[in-house]
């Protein structure tokens, strides 16, 4: 104790003499000095931007025009804006499919890659490649492949007698097509997480099940999936947050079109902030979007808690 006091004595104004007890107040003051840099950084890069965003959101502020305090009017405008409401709904639809599809396919892929077979390592590596590629590059390549007249996908469809699709060039098919790209890119991530979970499972329950004569289907349904569910939920949480925030692929491929058919909250926000330069309105969207993401995350974390191993 005395040694410790000596080590930190240079920090405090009132130095403790050997044998004299140090008050908890004095000790707290010294310790706080260590925390100050972290507090300053947190204030500068997290708290201040948030407070400033809140400040902007209660102002009518467009670039090049005077800033006027308008209270919650920007939020009221959002509620009354059909385009924003549609963007919110579209974001949810997109997110649900962009989470469910990679999760299902990724889990099946993980079960497959958990088996022993020749060149498994090589195939696994190839399977991971989409996740590594740059989203904008992916988007440009897929855009060319989706071209209704010249794209390779319609050619492939024609080989098996399926009529051509308009893919991202049609209001009805644009969201499913974007989900397809999202699934292609992010299935490997889910596979990786679930595969990690499968590798960590104990072998005893599976051996017991085999001895008891359980079929492969029964083992998968009643043993593997329940045991690996916490890992799947981790993947779902990560994918949900990612899908909600998805911007690069959608913007590069469709810019929210045709019309507003693929305009999600992020695209709407981008237009408000960087195309129309309505800073106040965009700040309100940021805050609403933040609340949505936090709410979704909390729900998913609660569900994940429920799926923990008993």
């Amino acid at each position: 104790m005395v040694t410790t006091q000596h080590r930190i004595s240079w920090l405090g104004r009132r130095q403790a003499r050997p044998g004299q007890p140090v008050s908890s107040y004095s000790r707290r003051g010294r310790y706080l000095l260590f925390v100050v840099p972290a507090i300053v950084v947190t204030l500068a890069v997290i708290i201040f931007p948030w407070l400033y965003t809140i400040y902007m959101s209660v102002h009518d502020w467009q670039v090049g025009m005077p800033r006027i305090y308008i209270g919650l009017e920007n939020y009221a405008n959002l509620i009354n804006d059909t385009r924003f409401r549609e963007a919110v709904w579209r974001t949810f639809v997109y997110t649900v499919f962009a989470v469910v599809c990679p999760t299902v396919v990724g889990t099946i892929a993980a079960l497959f890659f958990h088996q022993e077979f020749p060149l498994r390592g090589l195939v696994r590596t190839v399977y991971l490649l989409p996740m590594i590629a740059t989203p904008v590059a992916i988007a440009l390549v897929w855009t060319m492949m989706f071209h209704p007249q010249l794209g390779v996908l319609n050619y492939l469809l024609s080989l098996v007698g399926i009529p051509p699709s308009r893919w991202i060039y049609d209001q009805d098919t644009v969201i499913p097509t974007l989900v397809l790209v999202e699934t292609w890119q992010w299935t490997p991530l889910v596979m990786l997480i679930v595969l990690g979970g499968l590798a960590s499972l104990p072998s005893e329950p599976f051996e017991s099940a085999l001895i008891d004569g359980a079929s492969t289907f029964q083992i998968t349904r009643d043993l593997t999936l329940p045991l690996v569910m916490p890992f799947i939920m981790v993947a779902v949480v990560l994918r949900t947050i990612d899908a909600l925030k998805s911007f690069d692929i959608i913007y590069t491929m469709t810019q929210g079109g045709p019309g507003t058919a693929s305009e999600t909250i992020n695209i709407y926000l981008y237009l408000q902030a960087f195309a129309f330069f309505r800073i106040g309105q965009a700040s309100a969207v940021v805050l609403v979007f933040f609340v949505i993401i936090v709410a979704c995350s909390l729900v998913l974390l609660w569900v994940r808690q429920k799926t923990r191993w008993a």
Binding site: V63, Q171, A275, F277
Partner: protein, 455 residues
């Protein structure tokens, strides 16, 4: 089997076209003109070295014109002794950078390129650029042979704010023209259409989707599609926003132009055109699957390159078709100006003078990098001898200049205008009623316009 081969071949072509678009600037460099004697003569009579040792930053947009300016930048540096740091940024990011930095009050650049058709109102309201009239009238700042009168009147009008302020010098103008596939026209014995009605007739005659041929293609993607409609409106001699600031978008002429747009893109364009910007249109036309393409004049270079275009040597260049009331050509363009907050306004102004001189304007023409804002470029024998595009393109360009008229309204919220009416036009291609869509879009845009006018 042949269809299969055709698709495979076309896909390869698509990739080539994309690579070719990137290479367009390189092509321009190979065919660039040398500095003419006139520039050296200017150097002898005028003190270009008065700002020797200064350093300026120039914010340009990624395109073939900027490539030419950057390529010949050393020529300016030798002439003036001013060092130039050129910051070349893609168009969309460049516009955002400008607005953010001007709003911050401390832009990082001394010179910038401005797109008149999108940014003129915003820059005019913010007074972000220096009024260049004082420098232009100062013989110690402007060499006598700069020849301001050489600029096309339409370009000068475009670069002048409504209050008479001249905050940019004309850099280039861009007219909308009709590209047409001569081979397809000749095969069916159809004449090139000169009126809007004739375009429909020609598209109808040439439209053959069963064989992969579409009568017409133009932008259908929201925002990008608005100039197509506003150019058609010019045929009825109506502007989207009149000189008193009143929206004309629900007038009979506006509805007729929208109905016309709807008919062409719904009946004769390739499926999926609602997602087509200029690049998809270019790909479609360059693969020989569209008989006509209506767009800006700057696409001749890739279309005439046999490495990336199946229609090289078969492309016709025609004027924007005449409407029932008037005949105009939709005009767009860029200017270059000096940042009002710059503390190097003199050197920055010198850069603007150099960028817009006759030599560089001729270089633009020779490289097919856009239409020069100076009349002399079109008579420059050196430029014409070095053309990488057909003479027909130049003739169409010159003729367009005679009837050029800004196609987009010169208002501050141009982007909102394009966004809102762009969605309406996309909905029309999907089958919505033009009158109803225009009414809805007008009601949505009216308060935005009023607010901007009040400010």
């Amino acid at each position: 089997m042949s269809e299969r081969q055709g698709i495979r071949y076309s896909r390869r072509r698509v990739l080539q076209a994309t690579a070719g678009a990137v290479a367009a600037g390189t092509l321009a460099r190979h065919r660039a003109l040398p500095a003419s004697a006139s520039l050296r003569q200017e150097a002898a009579d005028f003190d270009w070295q008065r700002f020797k040792g200064e350093e300026i930053t120039v914010l340009l947009v990624t395109n073939s014109r900027s490539d030419i300016l950057v390529q010949h930048q050393s020529e300016f540096e030798e002439l003036t002794g001013i060092k130039v740091n050129a910051d070349v940024v893609p168009e969309q990011q460049q516009r955002q950078k400008q607005v953010i930095e001007f709003t911050s009050g401390n832009p990082s650049f001394d010179v910038t390129v401005v797109s008149w058709h999108v940014q003129k109102g915003l820059f005019g309201r913010g007074k972000w650029l220096l009024d260049l009239r004082e420098f232009l009238n100062d013989p110690t700042m402007t060499p006598p042979d700069y020849d301001f009168d050489d600029f096309l009147p339409s370009a000068v009008t475009f670069s002048t704010q409504p209050d008479g302020t001249m905050d940019t010098l004309p850099l280039f103008t861009d007219y909308w023209i009709m590209y047409w596939n001569k081979e397809l026209f000749e095969a069916k014995g159809v004449e090139f259409p000169t009126t809007l009605d004739d375009v429909v007739a020609a598209a109808e005659a040439l439209h053959d989707p069963d064989n992969g041929i579409y009568g017409f293609v133009a932008r259908g993607l929201k925002n990008a599609n608005v100039p197509v409609w506003t150019c058609f409106m010019q045929g009825w001699d109506v502007k989207p926003v009149d000189d008193e600031g009143q929206l004309q978008t629900t007038t009979e002429a506006a509805v007729e132009a929208a109905t016309y747009y709807q008919r062409l893109l719904r009946d004769f364009a390739p499926p999926g055109v609602t997602g087509f910007n200029w690049n998809e249109c270019q790909t479609t036309f360059s693969q020989g699957t569209a008989a006509m393409w209506f767009d800006g004049i700057g696409f001749a270079t890739p279309l005439e390159d046999p490495e990336q275009s199946k229609v090289a040597g078969k492309v016709g260049y025609g004027l924007q078709p005449a409407g029932p009331v008037a005949h105009h050509s939709g005009m767009f363009g860029d200017g270059i100006g000096v940042t009002a907050q710059s503390n190097k306004q003199g050197p920055a102004y010198f850069y603007c003078l150099w960028a817009t001189n006759k030599v560089n304007q001729a270089r633009f023409l020779a490289a097919g990098a856009g239409s020069p804002a100076r009349a002399s470029a079109y008579n420059d024998p050196e430029a014409l001898a070095n053309l990488v595009v057909p003479q027909e393109w130049v003739d169409t360009l010159v003729a367009s200049g005679q009837i050029g008229l800004p196609s987009l309204p010169e208002i501050v919220p141009v982007t909102e205008f394009r966004d809102i009416f762009g969605i309406a036009l996309t909905n029309m291609i999907e089958g919505a009623d033009p009158a109803e869509e225009l009414q809805k879009a007008t009601e949505e845009f009216q308060p935005i316009l009023e607010r901007s006018l009040q400010s």
